[in-house]
């Protein structure tokens, strides 16, 4: 058998990638984890995690990532800071083109996660970082005693809106439906929080200001009425898009670009697996990401054993 650079290349260093790294390193696979920025991913922007087992008092996103990173380092996982430009999966030997070289591997686990979705409305690019944000833990303190808006109705939107109320005078929570999608305990907390004012059945149509964000325009999609709200900050949590642009058409993805896998986390290409937020699934949690990753490594090992 031809000697390749690696048994397994893991792309992405969030909870899925780090878990895959942990299992692969302990399985003594010849493995490398490629991370574009720094280990962590979206979890780094998460204020407080209460639904990941083992931390009864909750844990901050950055702390959880620090622990996960510490754990993989204990097993000497090779982590490289580099960017995957493209994949060539046309042959059983997979080629991974990085920014400075091309590496070969028997298997790949894609754990590149997702990024907050943009709304695609006027003002969004101009005021990004000038009042418009997707990271409450980064930016909430800039809005102490100020008025802010939050857009969305899922777990992230509701949890982070509650966090915003620690700083802001008031939080308008704007949601396109007339009820929240977030888990019940978060809904209860939000409804009990008198700093949160809900604006139902509504969407953002523009973001305005001079140097910094000053106003947003909100449209009620049932009545068609629009109104302007004066706010200093606006946080967008209306969903995510997968970080899978580098894949082109190498593996099958769903309509939104999330990678389609079978129950063994294998994609349309044998030996190529996906785990975590980047895969097509109904629920995206840290708990599901780490489970995906463990399964993906198990499947990758099986694949490798059968070709050797």
């Amino acid at each position: 058998m031809k000697s390749l650079d690696y048994d397994l290349v893991i792309i992405g260093g969030g909870p899925a990638g780090l878990t895959a790294g942990l299992y692969a390193a302990r399985a003594r696979l010849n493995v490398i984890l490629i991370e574009k920025v720094v280990p962590g991913g979206q979890v780094l922007t998460t204020d407080w995690i209460e639904n990941y087992p083992g931390f009864p008092g909750g844990i901050s996103g950055p702390d959880l990532i620090r622990k996960m990173t510490e754990q993989v380092k204990k097993f000497n996982l090779n982590i490289e800071s580099n960017e995957v430009i493209s994949l060539d999966l046309s042959e059983p030997v997979k080629k991974i083109r990085l920014s400075d070289r091309t590496i070969t591997s028997h298997t790949i686990i894609i754990a590149t996660g997702a990024s907050p979705k943009k709304l695609g409305i006027p003002g969004e690019d101009i005021f990004w970082g000038k009042g418009l944000s997707t990271c409450a833990t980064c930016d909430a303190p800039f809005f102490k005693d100020k008025m802010v808006a939050a857009v969305g109705g899922g777990d992230t939107a509701v949890q982070e809106s509650i966090f915003l109320t620690k700083f802001a005078k008031k939080v308008y929570l704007i949601h396109r439906r007339d009820q929240l999608r977030a888990t019940k305990i978060l809904q209860e907390r939000a409804f009990a929080n008198d700093k949160i004012e809900f604006i139902w059945d509504s969407v953002l149509t523009s973001i305005n200001g001079f140097a910094n964000l000053e106003k947003i325009t909100v449209k009620n999609i049932k009545t068609g009425d629009t109104k302007e709200l004066s706010v200093d900050g606006c946080f967008i949590w209306t969903g995510i898009l997968p970080n899978t642009n580098f894949l082109k058409d190498e593996v099958k993805v769903d309509d939104n670009g999330f990678i389609i896998v079978d129950s063994n986390m294998q994609s349309s290409v044998p030996g190529v697996f996906a785990a975590g937020d980047a895969r097509s699934t109904g629920l995206r949690q840290i708990a599901t990401a780490v489970g995906d990753a463990a399964s993906a490594v198990f499947s990758a090992e099986y694949y490798i054993e059968n070709i050797k």
Partner: protein, 108 residues
């Protein structure tokens, strides 16, 4: 080689940033900001690579409200690039090292 980046405060901002002979990259950060802490090793690596051509400094927005306020910082991490006392570019949020190198090469 990574390099330790010196911290500046409001009182020396003008002297250190605006009156600097070399272009300046200033990293606006805060201890409570996870992504800020996460990218700081990247910025230190860049300081090791480009430290002879660019002055690298950090500004804690918690302790120093004036300078971030003056430059409209509402989101961190923000990396702001100064040349001859003027803002020439900025990068907001966590980005890949390659993107930062691209910006640095553009302003050099």
């Amino acid at each position: 080689m990574a390099e330790v980046i010196s911290e500046i405060d409001d009182s020396i901002f003008d002297a250190e940033v605006l009156k600097s002979d070399k272009p300046v990259l200033i990293d606006f950060w805060a201890p409570w900001c996870g992504p800020c802490r996460a990218i700081s090793p990247l910025v230190e690596q860049l300081a090791g690579e480009f430290g002879d051509k660019i002055k690298f400094v950090k500004c804690n927005v918690d302790d120093n409200p004036i300078s971030p306020g003056k430059y409209g910082i509402r989101s961190i991490p923000t990396l702001m690039f100064f040349k001859d006392g003027n803002v020439v570019d900025q990068v907001i949020g966590m980005v890949a090292k390659s993107k930062l190198e691209e910006v640095i090469n553009k302003i050099l």
